[in-house]
Every structure is written in structure tokens, then in C-alpha cells.
């Protein structure tokens, strides 16, 4: 539901930066969304496109990459992905928030919570 507000911030940030760089056309925007965020990539893309309408980014290519979720276990020092149960009955993936190696829950997320504008490509005036 909050994809709209995140997308709005993306649109604002991109247009501000393009203005600062005296761009007259934005060719592409590259975004990275972490797997462990609550953001749906399709919705983000839809709202960004909506936000870009009528601006110099209207025709920009929007590239959204999903970033893998990586954790670090403070108990056994495991570094890597979480165990994910794929349950066909629910059509969703259910992650287990404990260390795949030692099964303890002293984990911290080191990657996968980003909503990042990686780079934009512009044409200058």
C-alpha cells in the first residue's frame, strides 16, 4: 500500500537530481528493491510511471532489480540467505527468520532492505 509514497519519493528525487544536472531528458532510471522489504516491484513500477507522466522522465526506461536478502548470524557467524519454505498451497514463499546453520534467531539483516535509486541516465541541455 505504501508503494505509492515510496514511488513518489523516487520520482521527486530523480526529477530534482535531473534538474540539478540541467537534464532535458531522462533516459533511464535504475532502482534496487530488497527482497526483505514489503514493496511489490510491479506496484512500484506502476506508481513511478504514473509519477513520471508529463515530465522529462515520461519515456524513461525503468529498470528495477530485486536484491537478495542476506543475513548475518551473531551466534555462529553464518553469512548468507535465509531458509525459505515454498508452500504451493499459499502461492507464497515463507521465510524462516532464524539462522539456517545454527537455528538460533540472533540474526541481523545485512542486505535486502533497500529501496535504492542506483543511477539515472540523462541527456544534458
Amino acid at each position: 500500500m505504501h508503494e505509492a509514497s515510496i514511488a513518489q519519493s523516487i520520482v521527486q528525487t530523480v526529477l530534482q537530481e535531473a534538474d540539478k544536472q540541467s537534464a532535458f531528458y531522462i533516459e533511464s532510471v535504475e532502482i534496487e528493491i530488497g527482497e526483505l522489504t514489503f514493496l511489490g516491484i510491479e506496484q512500484i513500477e506502476f506508481w513511478i510511471k504514473t509519477g513520471f507522466q508529463g515530465t522529462i522522465a515520461e519515456k524513461a526506461e525503468i529498470v528495477i532489480k530485486q536484491v537478495k536478502g542476506i543475513i548475518h548470524c551473531k551466534a555462529c557467524d553464518y553469512q548468507g540467505e535465509l531458509n525459505i519454505q515454498k508452500d504451493p498451497a499459499y502461492h507464497i514463499s515463507i521465510p524462516t527468520f532464524s539462522c539456517p546453520q545454527c537455528q538460533r534467531s540472533k540474526i541481523e539483516i545485512t542486505q535486502g532492505r533497500e529501496a535504492l535509486i542506483r543511477r539515472i541516465k540523462i541527456l544534458k541541455k
Binding site: Q21, A23, Y90, T96, I122, L123
Partner: protein, 225 residues
């Protein structure tokens, strides 16, 4: 020396690396430092609309008001109904209206903290906006996060929203008196939750009657002082 410059109409790559969720995390960290400075314990309370967050908070306040100096921050879109209900139980309440937003964020909590005298408090309960998805994205700086789900939301609440348990330490399964009528197996709900987060503390409660509130206080490590 040869100088190479991009000509007119040439494409420029601009590395932005701007993380839009990071701003909130930085503010949340500030809130945490502020709580710690005044030795105030803060709990973020999440749950769907109608899961019983306000009732549970009200019962916790009623039970603990002799032992702790308590304030609550009540998140809501526009009304002050919940704030009044918690105030009636004996806590200082700050209303944080989000307008149209579906979650509280660290900035709104920071604003609410400016309205509180933290030196006169021991415990701050933050009631998030009724929603099991969006608030998960926005840490507020609280020390603990507790989730309230109720049997009236049906049997699949936990498996459908695994991510909300990510940073939660306590789960309240509320309205257990209605489980039978709803044909919901509360032990299955508990098992679903423990599959996702093995060290989660799960409490069964009937908020309206105050059942399970002692267990909850223990699960929150608030029975000590």
C-alpha cells in the same frame, strides 16, 4: 594534453545511490538514543484493523500504571477515538495522526516525543496504524515490537504475513473466546508463527476480559520492576 568531454546530447550516468528507506532508519536510531538517554522502554504495537491493539494496550496500562509511568502514542489516520480509550486507563496519550498514510514513521514518532516529558516516564507504548504490511517497513526506534492478531481475522493471518514477524519479539493471539465460532485453531496459528520465527513469544489473550494480560506482561519482560 587531450581533454575528452561529453558533447551536447550525450548521455550522462549519474550514480545516486539514494536509499529512500534509510532516512527513516536513521531517524529511528535517533529516537532509540533518545529513549535510552531517559531510560524509557518503548514498544511498537502492530496489528490489523480491529485486531484489538487499543484494547490490549488499555489492559496493559491498567495493569502496569502503579508500577510504571506510562505514555502511549496512538497512531491513527484522523481520529482521536483510540487515544481517548487509552487515556481512560491511566496513561498520558499523544495522538499521532498520519492523515492518509497507512503507517507511522520515525519522524512522526520523533514529533510525538517532543510533546512528552521523557524524564517523567518509564514506558512508552506506540500503537501503530491498523495494518499488517506497511508498518513493517518503518522501524520507529522502539526496543521491542509486538504484533496482535485475532481469531476473527481467520486462520491464515500468520502465513500470509510472515514478514511482519521479522523484527517482532512477542505475538498476541487475541479474541481466543471467539476461536470456536470462527473455526480457527489457535494452536495452529501459534505453530505457524513459530515456524517463521522460532524464538517468538506467543501469548493467548482475550483483551476485552483481560485474560492473558499477565502472560503478555511477562513476555514483554515488564513484570520485573
Amino acid at each position: 594534453m587531450k581533454i575528452v568531454k561529453p558533447g551536447k546530447n550525450e548521455t550522462f550516468d549519474i550514480e545516486l545511490e539514494e536509499d529512500l528507506l534509510k532516512q527513516n532508519r536513521v531517524l529511528a536510531e535517533k529516537n532509540r538514543i533518545r529513549f535510552d538517554q531517559y531510560h524509557v522502554h518503548a514498544i511498537d504495537v502492530l496489528g490489523s484493523i480491529g485486531s484489538g491493539k487499543t484494547t490490549i494496550i488499555g489492559q496493559v496500562v491498567k495493569e502496569l500504571k502503579g508500577r510504571y509511568r506510562i505514555a502511549a502514542i496512538a497512531g491513527d489516520l484522523t481520529t482521536t477515538i483510540d487515544a481517548a480509550r487509552i487515556q481512560d486507563k491511566g496513561a498520558i496519550v499523544i495522538q499521532a495522526n498520519t492523515g492518509k498514510e497507512c503507517h507511522l514513521d520515525a519522524n512522526l514518532v520523533l514529533k510525538a516525543l517532543n510533546e512528552l516529558n521523557l524524564e517523567d516516564l518509564d514506558l512508552v507504548l506506540i500503537e501503530n496504524v491498523g495494518n499488517l504490511i506497511c508498518p513493517g517497513e518503518f522501524p520507529l526506534g522502539a526496543h521491542q515490537r509486538m504484533v496482535v492478531v485475532s481469531t476473527t481475522e481467520g486462520p491464515y493471518m500468520i502465513v500470509k504475513h510472515p514478514y511482519i514477524l521479522l523484527e517482532s519479539s512477542v505475538l498476541v493471539i487475541n479474541k481466543i473466546d471467539l476461536a470456536q465460532a470462527m473455526e480457527v485453531d489457535i494452536h495452529q496459528l501459534r505453530e505457524d508463527a513459530l515456524n517463521i520465527k522460532p524464538d517468538l513469544k506467543v501469548v493467548f489473550a482475550n483483551g476485552r476480559r483481560g485474560e492473558g494480560i499477565q502472560d503478555l506482561i511477562e513476555a514483554l519482560n515488564l513484570s520485573g520492576e
